[in-house]
């Protein structure tokens, strides 16, 4: 659906050239929710803007839905843009129009007749769950409601692709979750390809199928979300993964725990995909002469399975502990024995 080939973007400023994006290659499949994560200044905003021609790459090509958006201009580009919806961090609604009129705007641009506009807008209001609030002005809507208007507006011309530019970064956690649920719903119902950029790993974890990590204008790591969570390669990716899997306190907690438990072993288990659904602890206690004490744990759901860590303390005869750890290894669960030092 989307092909990004050797894309480079250089901005010339008075202070000299600034390279925002270098040598990016990406292939995004139809119906996929693809996330790009990076800190601010990593070039992800520039990258997503190249997908609808708001920025033109200095080098390379961008193809979206069989249209080479990096090389078309004028009315051809405008027509292509009608099939690429976009939502924004600050919603960017027209304050002079009601929710309904905002949703109608892209239809006016596409030259849809008034009767058809009314029909389509009604459908969209239902789709995004805005019934009852559609005639309010943006200033009378909450952040979540504004983003629903934004999503309805982006979907008005039945786009093939939806671009989300930090779409949930201005929302509180609860509203973020409801907007993310809506995006997944739209993705499944309409088969829409979604590309989103964010700095929150939580967003990636919750809805993305695949992820690319950006740093200094380059994609440093990409893969399925589960794969990246299981096996982060780059330091920056590890930091992002820690955002959702390891609360800040964990390191301190481990230190304290090691002081408390002088015998036995403290073991950190990492579950990925199916591993997280097995009755591992029950099997350990039943089959080995050990006691198991759960110290801390967290399981996160991603679009392609669950991922989590569990910190346990195993006590008993040394040989039994060793056998138990071997058993855990055989269960496709990551094991890390945390030593007393």
């Amino acid at each position: 659906m989307i092909t990004i080939k050797n894309v480079k973007k250089i901005f010339s400023t008075k202070q000299g050239d600034v390279t925002a994006v270098t040598d990016v290659n990406l292939e995004i499949q139809e119906g996929e929710i693809f996330g790009v994560i990076g800190y601010s200044g990593a070039g992800k905003s520039t990258l997503i803007r190249m997908l609808n021609g708001l920025e033109i790459p200095t080098d390379g090509s961008v193809t979206v839905a069989n249209k080479q958006v990096s090389h078309i201009k004028g009315s051809e580009l405008r027509t292509a843009r009608q099939k690429i919806g976009m939502i924004f961090q600050h919603f960017n609604l027209l304050w002079s129009r009601t929710g309904r009129e905002n949703i109608s705007f892209p239809l006016e641009i596409a030259g849809v007749s008034k009767a058809n506009r009314i029909k389509k807008v009604d459908e969209l209001i239902k789709l995004v769950g805005l019934q009852g609030r559609e005639d309010a002005y943006p200033s009378q809507l909450s952040g979540g409601q504004k983003q629903r208007v934004g999503i309805a507006r982006a979907l008005a011309n039945d786009p093939k692709v939806l671009l989300c530019d930090e779409a949930t970064s201005a929302l509180d956690p609860q509203t973020t979750d409801s907007i993310l649920d809506l995006l997944v719903d739209i993705n499944e119902r309409l088969g829409l390809t979604i590309v989103l950029i964010t700095h929150e790993m939580h967003v990636i974890r919750k809805i993305c199928h695949r992820v690319a990590v950006m740093e200094d204008g380059e994609i440093v790591e990409k893969g399925s979300v589960l794969e990246v969570f299981k096996n982060p390669q780059q330091p920056i990716t590890k930091r992002f993964v820690q955002q959702v899997t390891e609360p800040e306190k964990t390191k301190e907690t481990i230190g304290q725990l090691l002081g408390v438990y002088t015998s036995g072993q403290v073991v950190q288990l990492s579950f990925v995909g199916q591993g997280a659904e097995q009755p591992l602890i029950t099997n350990l206690i039943r089959n080995f002469g050990i006691t198991v004490n759960i110290l801390q744990g967290e399981i996160s759901q991603t679009q392609n399975g669950s991922y989590g860590t569990l910190l346990i303390h195993i006590d008993g005869v040394e040989s039994e502990i060793a056998k138990a750890i071997d058993y855990i290894h055989s269960q496709q669960v990551g094991v890390e024995v945390i030593s007393h030092d």
Binding site: L54, F88, H90, F105, E108, I109, A110, Y137, L163
Partner: protein
């Protein structure tokens, strides 16, 4: 009683003068509104980073606007006498005041329009572009509606200053309340005529401000 306080006021003449002032203010406000929006849009659109970015056009319009905004109005009238004569064949009467009124106030209003347009959130323009909007659509459906409260409050201020300009134009023969106050009031030493003309000008100004405020509040949904 009112005739006791204003013994020298010829109400027939006062009414004619009021109508002349209203006529000059109305026509010049309308023309200023249209011309100012066109100039303001050009200033905005040709500025750096905008849709019609063009350094020379931008600086050119900007220079013209600044020059006409800086010339004192009374001097502008005199400077424009040859142009007015060419246009109307005379420099007397309310129509003859119009070129100076419009040329004097349109640049002033154009700057207010430009400021109003600059206050529109850049993100909204980006959103319109991302939907595939043409520049003409952006002008009519985004730029003007989104800056309308600023455009209306700006034209209110301009209309009020135009009432003042018409009085000044009146002194050199354009008619209206200024003319009456100067010729009938000041030069013939009839203070009550000057006072009555002033009161009517004040009433016109208050009404303009009132209407402007109501419209601005009604259209501002922010």
């Amino acid at each position: 009683m009112i005739n006791q306080w204003f013994p020298n006021v010829d109400w027939e003449k006062m009414w004619v003068a009021t109508r002349e002032t209203l006529y000059m203010t109305g026509i010049s406000t309308l023309a200023t509104f249209i011309l100012g929006i066109i100039l303001g849009l050009l200033l905005f659109l040709t500025a750096k980073g905008n849709m019609w970015e063009n350094y020379l056009v931008n600086k050119g319009i900007s220079a013209i606007v600044n020059i006409f905004r800086s010339i004192p109005f009374i001097i502008l009238i005199v400077l424009l006498i040859p142009f007015t004569k060419l246009l109307f064949g005379t420099m007397i009467g309310e129509n003859a005041a119009l070129p100076a009124l419009i040329i004097g106030s349109a640049p002033f209003y154009a700057r207010m329009v430009e400021i109003g347009l600059r206050e529109i959130d850049k993100g909204v323009l980006e959103a319109a572009k991302s939907m595939g909007a043409k520049t003409s659509t952006i002008i009519w459906k985004v730029l003007i509606p989104e800056s309308l409260p600023a455009l209306v409050s700006g034209i209110t201020v301009t209309a009020i200053s135009l009432v003042g300009f018409t009085a000044m134009a009146g002194v050199i023969g354009a008619g209206g309340l200024g003319n009456l106050a100067f010729l009938d009031g000041f030069q013939r030493n009839r203070f009550d005529v000057t006072l009555m003309a002033t009161i009517i000008v004040l009433i016109i100004v208050f009404i303009l401000q009132f209407i402007g405020d109501i419209i601005t509040n009604k259209i501002d949904k922010r």
